[in-house]
Symmetry: C2
Subunit: 790 residues, 2 copies
């Protein structure tokens, strides 16, 4: 690994930066321990110490050291930069730094840069009503929650895409580096365009330990680590040591070299037109865990070991010797040299810092909603398929959507604020029209046989849902727009990332200074019912259940029944802010039910009675409801059978696009009132509900509704295999024949009257099953079925 | 990268192995295309071809090539080996090979090694009622489902742990290699003990393309790829080419060297006592995607491009020229030289193959239940905490469990069939007693300051839930036992892996030849209610919801209310087979409610009325139910308040350990009958149910129960932050005071009578909130509350 032997800091500069670092360390320790006497004006007494010591010291001094030195670079080079804090529990450090630079007090005026503010700063940390121990939405300058580890590097890349002036300094914990998400996101450098994008500077903070173990990367030896980072395509620089003055010089020299290198790479690409992939620098920063903290506690080494991970001196309130040790530790930073008696940092500690928006706590990209520009959206109505009569024509929904997305890309090309991401599935998901407008960005080798790969492009594909999601989040959090297209079953791979993003949205919504950001939009279009060749492993509609557990003011789920409704829903989602929108629709050709105006109205209402398919005269014997494209077709086919065979039966057909409409109004902002719900579903008639996913979700959303005891839901009941589309329905009892049987079984008085029809339905199911096992495909009469308007 | 220049095959051997490869390729193409005329006795006609062409050719010839050559190694060296098929959709190849070696027909006698069997073999592939296109439970010799990508390497490592004779040859797709899970699981070599474990031979199958894109690793250049693999700690060998005879010699030479190297590493460790981490070999196998398939279709290159991914010749039935092309392609393998007119493979094609259990399709490790030995389990009753009166003492549940686990480890040490895995949390989760019996396995550098790290050990920790889960699955699938301890919120990281394992269990349960394997046991013990210092990012109880969507015959969820119940539940789980068991309990000290015998009875029943806490005289006014440790305490505290203040109110206290008991008996094997349910919960009295997780899950499980409309559930409603334990309850309205308010609001006639008590509850909530915001900890009266037996 490269080691800088420059020593660029004058003694004054070194003194200055070291004093700043000591101040940040002092403030970090104070946050972990104190609730009073912040300036140590008097000897520490037990009541100055928090009753519950919660916090993590281990990673903090390293984070502070890096923050200090990056400030020097920002100031010297007028380099806009954000700081992504990968290591868990790094908040004391980031909060301390933003307080020193002034952004914290600007964001939270009550936490002023004086003694009172410092006391509040200390007390609030990991305290009821206060702030968490991870970098979080509450932390100025952060776009990254440090609670669940692994996403820092993908977030950093997402942030710099289309921000050519920006550098994201991304500190990666060596614990975090063991996660899958992090391990693969190093490869993001093959998707970064040095012309149109900014730069990421990964800094692997090799402090050696996790909670209770050494880290893998700290114990494989420098040679292997260098090979690994070079294998990931980077040029590694090593900065190590435990003697602060020496490490100050080493890091300063290295940062000078590294930023020169970043500039050189960008100039070569931007000025000379170089298109080969550069080797971007990475810094390996090896300093002791809990650096400058207690060396030993109870005769056991602490600094430089995993024992420094959390609170290195426990039981301070109840153990006088510990109290003394804490005071000695805090005084070792020489607070009198750092703070005025007012509590404000001394001028010489902070006057060299960047000002205004160059402060990392104030970088506008880290409060992306401030920078969001609405997308220019072409009128989706112009892309609608022509529908003269319901069900007479068919279309491939995502292929049509692809044309609209192509024009979304064109319309916003000059703003560079929209991307389409997916794990190698954009083409398979039939969105390929977008390639008429753009390419897939690819900075690795391109060969003549390749199609649609280019050094620049609006589409990003890597076979890692984690990386896709991480890029996307970073891109959204910095205020831009995107759509993630993914196989339905495998979006579960990012369940936990979705949790964390949902939590970020929920908390940031409650912070007045955080501006709403564009929504996280999923298009799940290779779904459970059409995995004909992929089989059981690809059949899982549970992502909807997963997101439905998140806060109601964050989550929206849409199940458009046809192409035109999809267009309307997609338009709505790309206009929305601060939601997680999940759209589920099949990519295969399916019937068109609604013309574009009806579709727009239907999706705006979220659900409704389809009068044209109903014969209930306002008083149904049974309600046939559907949510999802395949269920809609089966419900209509069942309605068709009923109207042929039992014309006197009054059938109402209801279609649900916006799943959250089913919830009570008090539970979800989209929820219908009970009166509305009752008017549509009735309170006492059987409702046969065909649903795209696991039936229990519908019960979970509706169990408080009046008619719930009459609600009978069909859906996916974990019966899957490699088989035909209709056989999948039969296996799960959601086929048209079974739905008719359900109606016969549930409408009072029908069982006897329709016994013959019921037997006919049983026979037709059997006939179908026998046919496909022989022929390998569905019966033509099912494949070719069309709704007959009458 | 190392390149072998040996050419060890004689012309005879080369001819033999090439003929075998052609046979496997022929059978693979046949599976994708044909449903009749398998031996091409007549010219292909459209009706011989399947109506729906579903399958993936791209990866198959490479998989076949490797399978052939590994057979030579197995035969030459009597080396037991399993074959892990990482690339997606590799089933045609594996099925073809196992048919050739005879294991397929032994497993499925109707698919015999003759013309009839070959026709069935072809027809069943990706056909209704047939077999999937991925290696799957149905595939003999497989422990790995190739549907969702990323887990092959971790599965391979899991399989060879404690199997010192075994080699797992793990083919990794270069698409799969982009996933997070795969990218980090390369580091598994730091956890493999060459003495007690077998070896993994990773083979990176660099065929260059995914569905529609080149792969990253194929386009970074050989130098970078070599650095990457060396950085992961391996010694890479390159085998590349497209001319079969040359590649045969190269692969044969390389495999000879590589297996010599594996043997040498093992001997050095086993005989010479070498403890330094070896550099295990890895093979980079670069051959064209869709090798030997159509070179061009429609004037576009297919072989060697992404266009060979699926079905390279589409529309064969309807396009005569394509039919001709298919026949030409199949005849290019010269089937007459490969198969007898009976359809059986010619002797010279197969007589050199391994026999019996050495055939990879018959390796007993790949049907792990065959090898499972019950764990020796020390009597958990002896580890129970003493309980004289309910709630008077407290214990740290997982610390007590740790002592039992320590002795489980000791009792099974000689069988080497139990491991404890976790992402760096075993100590934090207070299971540290296990270190009295064993260490954490660690083959990277060990330093003097380290504790409990050793080259051998039963505990495995890496900060990657994916790797933990993958190891675990591999270990279980090969018939051994394990427990995964994990933070509750972050187990969502493996949601999708759990899905796939649940699917594996479900399908394999239906296959008579697959023996049940030990259960996948989760201990989630840093849970939503006690994330005092971690805050909102660590608060998510949704994993229970996630697993509850899986097949009822697979999933079990346990919420033991105290230490003794945990012991009983853990004992039950470690004895069970073929389940996914989820145990959730806090690690902090909590009250002991049941003595060990009562706990054993309670957990066997799964739920029950706690008579000692009830005063309902068989006819309650209200039922207070709890599932989970923290809810149990709050319910009892609420019962205590009610009995003090409203002594005439008849309160029944119910505790639920086994959540699935709530489901109807028809939905889950553990489900109570309606009569049982009604006897406990009543049909008409209010039930106030305090639940560990999201309240909707309880509704989802019970919506069909008679008394459901009277059921009122409290639980986590996504209100979280860094705060005290009791404040978390207050935020989510599950605190004792609110539960009392719920009772007052719901028991008819109580609202007026208990208005004063209700106000008192409101005031006590307020008082608590004010106190903690000042003092930073819960009111002593809450922290110190004890149940008073009376």
């Amino acid at each position: 690994m490269l080691v800088s032997d420059a020593a660029p800091l004058t003694q004054d500069e070194l003194g200055c930066i070291d004093a700043y670092w000591r101040a940040a360390n002092y403030l970090s320790v104070g946050q972990i321990y104190l609730m009073d006497n912040p300036l140590l004006r008097e000897r520490l007494r037990p009541e100055h110490v928090k009753p519950r010591l919660l916090g993590h010291w281990g990673t903090t001094p390293g984070l502070n050291f890096l923050y200090a030195h990056l400030n020097r670079i920002i100031q010297d080079r007028r380099q806009p930069m954000i700081y992504v804090t990968g290591p868990g529990h790094g908040a004391p450090g980031i909060v301390a730094n933003t307080w020193l630079e002034g952004t914290y007090s600007e964001t939270y005026p009550s936490v002023s840069r004086d003694e009172l503010g410092m006391r509040r700063l200390f007390t609030q940390f990991s305290f009821p009503g206060g702030v968490p121990s991870h970098a979080a939405p509450e932390t100025p300058g952060s776009i990254h929650e440090g609670g669940e580890l692994g996403y820092s590097l993908a977030h950093a890349y997402g942030a710099v895409f289309d921000n050519p002036r920006l550098v994201a300094a991304c500190v990666i914990g060596d614990g975090e580096a063991e996660t899958g998400a992090l391990a693969t996101s190093w490869h993001s450098n093959k998707f970064l365009d040095p012309v149109g994008d900014g730069a990421v500077l990964p800094i692997l903070h090799l402090n050696g330990y996790k909670i209770a173990n050494p880290t893998v990367l700290a114990r494989i030896g420098d040679d292997e680590l260098e090979e690994l980072l070079r294998g990931y395509g980077y040029e590694p620089y090593l900065v190590e040591g435990s003697d602060p003055p020496a490490v100050h010089q080493r890091l300063a020299g290295t940062l000078d070299e590294v930023f020169d290198k970043i500039t050189a790479i960008q100039l070569r690409a931007r000025v000379d037109g170089e298109t080969r992939r550069p080797r971007w620098p990475v810094i390996v920063f090896r300093t002791p865990k809990g650096w400058t903290g207690p060396k030993e506690v109870n005769g056991q080494p602490v600094e430089g070991t995993w024992r420094a991970h959390q609170v290195p001196l426990p039981d301070v309130r109840s153990t006088p010797a510990r109290l003394v040790a804490l005071e000695r530790w805090m005084r070792s930073y020489r607070p009198d040299e750092l703070f005025l008696s007012s509590g404000a940092p001394r001028t010489e500690i902070v006057d060299w810092l960047p000002r205004g928006d160059l402060r990392m706590g104030a970088n506008p990209h880290a409060n992306g909603g401030r920078l969001t520009r609405d997308l220019e959206l072409p009128d989706f109505r112009e892309y609608g398929v022509k529908v003269v009569a319901a069900g007479e024509t068919s279309a491939e929904p995502t292929r049509v959507l692809g044309a609209w997305l192509r024009d979304v890309i064109r319309a916003n090309e000059s703003h560079r604020n929209f991307r389409l991401v997916g794990p190698d599935e954009t083409d398979s998901n039939r969105l390929s029209a977008v390639y008429e407008a753009t390419d897939k960005v690819w900075r690795a080798r391109i060969e003549p046989v390749d199609e649609h790969l280019a050094p620049q492009g609006r589409v990003m594909e890597i076979l890692s849902e984690h990386t896709c999601q991480g890029w996307l989040e970073g891109y959204l959090l910095t205020g831009r727009h995107a759509l993630f297209n993914c196989y339905e079953a495998f979006v579960h791979i990012v369940d936990s990332m979705v949790n964390q993003h949902a939590k970020w949205l929920k908390v940031s919504r409650e912070l007045r200074w955080r501006m709403p950001i564009p929504s996280l939009n999923y298009l799940l279009t290779s779904h459970v019912w059409r995995q004909d060749h992929n089989g059981f492993s690809h059949q899982d509609p549970g992502f909807i259940d997963h997101v439905a557990n998140k806060s109601a003011d964050i989550v929206r789920v849409y199940l458009p029944p046809d192409t035109n409704t999809l267009l309307s829903v997609a338009d709505h989602c790309l206009r929305s802010r601060h939601y997680i929108n999940v759209i589920v629709i099949d990519k295969h050709a399916g019937p068109n039910w609604l013309d574009i105006d009806a579709a727009a109205l239907h999706s705006a209402r979220g659900l409704g009675i389809w009068e044209w398919a109903s014969n209930d005269k306002g008083d149904p014997d049974v309600v046939l409801a559907a949510a999802g494209d395949i269920p809609t077709t089966e419900i209509l086919a069942a309605a068709d059978l009923l109207r042929r065979h039992l014309p006197e039966l009054r059938v109402r057909v209801v279609n649900v696009v916006d799943l959250m409409r089913l919830q009570p109004a008090g539970e979800h902002p989209h929820g219908l009132t009970d009166a509305e719900f009752d008017a549509i579903f009735t309170t006492d008639r059987p409702v046969i509900f065909a649903y795209h996913g696991y039936p229990t979700l519908i019960h979970r959303l509706t169990y408080r509704r009046h008619g719930h005891e009459h609600l009978h839901v069909r859906g996916f009941k974990e019966k899957g295999t490699t088989t035909t589309p209709f056989d999948m329905l039969v296996m799960n009892d959601m086929d048209r024949f079974h739905l008719v049987m359900d109606v016969i079984d549930r409408v009072p008085g029908l069982a006897r009257r329709a016994a013959g029809l019921r037997q006919q339905m049983v026979d037709r199911r059997t006939r179908h099953s026998e046919y496909i096992r022989r022929a390998g495909e569905d019966l033509p009469e099912i494949r070719d079925w069309r709704w007959q308007a009458r």
